[in-house]
C-alpha cells in the first residue's frame, strides 16, 4: 500500500528529498518553497523559502553538500545553504537568461548544476571562488524551443536534455575550472563545452516531457507527448527503441534499476517498464486499481439506492478517480535507493498529494499484469 501525504489543495509543482529523506522541499504552485521535517509520524513545516517572485519550477537537493537549488519563472535561480541557526540562506545565481527557467538539476559531484529555460538554452552554473558567486555558461546550439527537462550523466560531464522542439539531446557540460578531463564514454570522446554528443527525434513529433540517464550512463530514456517511451543504448551503437503506449502521455520518469524505468503522467498512476536491449515492455502498474474496482461494485448498489432515497436522483458517482492520485502526476523521484537499485519512489501531483510507492512488492508479486 502506498503512503499518501496531502499538502493542501494546490498542485505540487516539484519536490526534492534530502540525503536520508527526513526532510522534504516542495513548491505548492507558487513562488515559495516549503521545507518539511518528518517528526512524530507527520510532516511538519520547518521553513518557507520565499525569495522567488514568480512560480518556482524546479527544486533539487544535493545529498552530500546539503544545498538546495531552486529555479523559477522570474528567470532566477537561488542556491540555498543551511545556516547554523537552522535557517536557509539564499545566494543568487547569475543565469543570464531572459525567459523563464523550467528545470534544474545538481550534477552528481554537486560541483555544478544545470538549468533549462524558455530562452532555448541551458545554463550550466558553477561556483567562482574568487568572486564568491555562481556564474553560468550557456549551451545554445542547436536547441530551437523551450528546454523542458534535463538529467546528468554519472560522469559529471554529459547532460541530457529534452525540449519542446521534439528532440532529445546529449550535450557536454565540461567546465575546465571545475572538472577534470573526462575519459571517453560510449557517447563520444571529444567533449568540449556545449558539444552536441547525440541528438534524437521523438518519433512522430511530441514534446519531450522527461528525460533520464540510467545508473551507468550507457542508456538514456525519455517520455514524449505522443504517449511514447524511448530508450537509446549508447553501448549498442546508439540504438533507439520506442514504445507507443495507448495511455495518456507520461510527463516524468526515472530509472530504478539498470533495465527498469518508472513513468507517470496524465494517467495519474505510475507504471514500470523494462528495457531488454530490444524492446520496451510494461511490467506492472503501481496503482492496483483492479482490486479497488472489485470493492467498488459491492458498495455501488447501496450508494445507488441511498442517493435514490435521499434526492430521488440516480447519481453516478464517478467524480473521484480510482487511482491514488486524483490529477496528473508532475514528478517522480527516487525516495530510497539509487538509480541502479531503487526500493521506493515518490510522486507529487497536481492534486496536492505526495505518494511514496514501494517497489519491492513488484519483485515479490512477480509480473501480474501486462
Amino acid at each position: 500500500m502506498p503512503d499518501t501525504f496531502s499538502f493542501g489543495i494546490d498542485p505540487l509543482t516539484c519536490h526534492a528529498w534530502n540525503h536520508d529523506h527526513s526532510q522534504l522541499a516542495l513548491s505548492p504552485n507558487n513562488h515559495e518553497v516549503h521545507v518539511y521535517k518528518w517528526s512524530d509520524g507527520k510532516w511538519k513545516l520547518s521553513d518557507v523559502l520565499a525569495e522567488h517572485v514568480q512560480r518556482v519550477t524546479g527544486i533539487d537537493w544535493a545529498p552530500k553538500s546539503n544545498r538546495i537549488v531552486t529555479c523559477g519563472v522570474d528567470r532566477n535561480a537561488y542556491v540555498w545553504t543551511l545556516q547554523p541557526d537552522g535557517k536557509w540562506k539564499p545566494a543568487l545565481v547569475i543565469l543570464r537568461i531572459n525567459r523563464a527557467a523550467t528545470c534544474v538539476k545538481w550534477s552528481p559531484l554537486e560541483t555544478k548544476f544545470a538549468v533549462g529555460s524558455g530562452a532555448r538554452l541551458i545554463s550550466v552554473c558553477y561556483f567562482e571562488q574568487e568572486n564568491d558567486w555562481w556564474v553560468s555558461k550557456h549551451i545554445k546550439k542547436p536547441i530551437r524551443s523551450t528546454v523542458t527537462c534535463i538529467d546528468w550523466h554519472p560522469n559529471n560531464i554529459l547532460l541530457a536534455c529534452g525540449s519542446s522542439d521534439f528532440k532529445a539531446r546529449v550535450f557536454s557540460a565540461y567546465i575546465k575550472e571545475v572538472d577534470e578531463k573526462p575519459n571517453a564514454t560510449s557517447w563520444g570522446s571529444k567533449m568540449p563545452f556545449g558539444n552536441l554528443m547525440a541528438e534524437f527525434s521523438n518519433g512522430s513529433g511530441g514534446w519531450v516531457h522527461g528525460i533520464s540517464f540510467s545508473a551507468s550512463g550507457e542508456k538514456v530514456a525519455w517520455v514524449g507527448h505522443d504517449s511514447s517511451i524511448s530508450v537509446v543504448n549508447a553501448a549498442d551503437g546508439s540504438k533507439l527503441t520506442t514504445l507507443k503506449t495507448d495511455s495518456l502521455p507520461f510527463v516524468t520518469l526515472t530509472w530504478i534499476k539498470e533495465n527498469n524505468i518508472v513513468v507517470a503522467g496524465y494517467d495519474c498512476s505510475p507504471a514500470v517498464f523494462s528495457y531488454d536491449g530490444e524492446n520496451v515492455v510494461l511490467i506492472a502498474r503501481l496503482d492496483d486499481s483492479e482490486t479497488k474496482q472489485q470493492q467498488g461494485s459491492k458498495f455501488s448498489a447501496m450508494k445507488h439506492f441511498r442517493s435514490l432515497d435521499n434526492r430521488a436522483t440516480v447519481e453516478s458517482n464517478d467524480t473521484t478517480l480510482e487511482t491514488v492520485h486524483q490529477n496528473t502526476v508532475t514528478q517522480v523521484t527516487i525516495y530510497a535507493g539509487t538509480k541502479a537499485n531503487c526500493t521506493k519512489c515518490s510522486t507529487s501531483g497536481i492534486d496536492g498529494q505526495l505518494v511514496i510507492w514501494d517497489l519491492r512488492s513488484l519483485e515479490n508479486s512477480g509480473s501480474n499484469s501486462a
Partner: protein
C-alpha cells in the same frame, strides 16, 4: 439520424480526453508572461494539429490543442430560419455570461457557433474527466434545448394568433 449521435459524441470525448493533457508553460516570446498558446499562436511547435469531427456538414466540432490550452468550437445544427435566430440568441446569452461558465470563450471561432477555451489553470483546479463530461453534456443538451425552444415559439405564436383572431 440519431444513430450517429453516440459514435459522434464518443469520438469527441476521446479526442478531448487526449487533448486536455495540458501543462503550465511560460511564454517563450515574452518574459514573465503565461499565455494560452492556442490563442497566441506565435510558436508553431507548441501547437497541435487541429482536428475536426463532423457528424454532417452542418454539425461539427473543431478541436485545437496546444501545450497549455485547448480550444473547442461547436457548430450547432440549424435547419431553418427560426432555429438560426434562436441559436444565435441563445449562444449570445451564454457568451455574455462567459465569466460564470469559466471555460467559455466570449467570441466563437470563425465558422462556428460557440467556443470553449480550457487552459492548464482550469485542469489544475478541476477534474479533467469532469470538464470533458461537461462539454459532452453541453453538446447533448443544446440540441434538446433548441428543439424545446422552437416548439415553445411555435406554440406561443399559435396561441397568440388564436387569441387575436377570436375577436373577428
Amino acid at each position: 439520424m440519431s444513430t450517429t449521435l453516440q459514435p459522434y459524441l464518443k469520438a469527441v470525448r476521446q479526442t478531448l480526453t487526449a487533448a486536455i493533457c495540458l501543462e503550465n508553460f511560460s511564454s517563450q516570446v515574452v518574459e514573465r508572461h503565461n499565455k494560452p498558446e492556442v490563442e497566441v499562436r506565435t510558436s508553431k511547435e507548441l501547437l497541435l494539429t487541429p482536428v475536426t469531427i463532423s457528424r454532417n456538414e452542418k454539425e461539427k466540432v473543431l478541436i485545437e490543442g496546444s501545450i497549455n490550452s485547448l480550444r473547442i468550437s461547436i457548430a450547432i445544427k440549424q435547419a431553418d430560419e427560426i432555429e438560426k435566430i434562436l441559436c444565435h440568441k441563445f449562444m449570445r446569452f451564454m457568451m455574455m455570461r462567459a465569466e460564470n461558465f469559466i471555460v467559455l470563450r466570449r467570441k466563437p471561432v470563425e465558422g462556428y457557433d460557440i467556443s470553449f477555451l480550457i487552459t492548464n489553470f482550469h485542469t489544475e483546479q478541476m477534474y479533467k474527466h469532469k470538464v470533458v463530461d461537461f462539454i459532452i453534456h453541453f453538446m447533448e443538451e443544446i440540441d434538446k434545448e433548441m428543439s424545446e425552444m422552437k416548439l415553445a415559439v411555435n406554440s406561443r405564436a399559435r396561441i397568440s394568433a388564436e387569441e387575436f383572431l377570436k375577436r373577428f
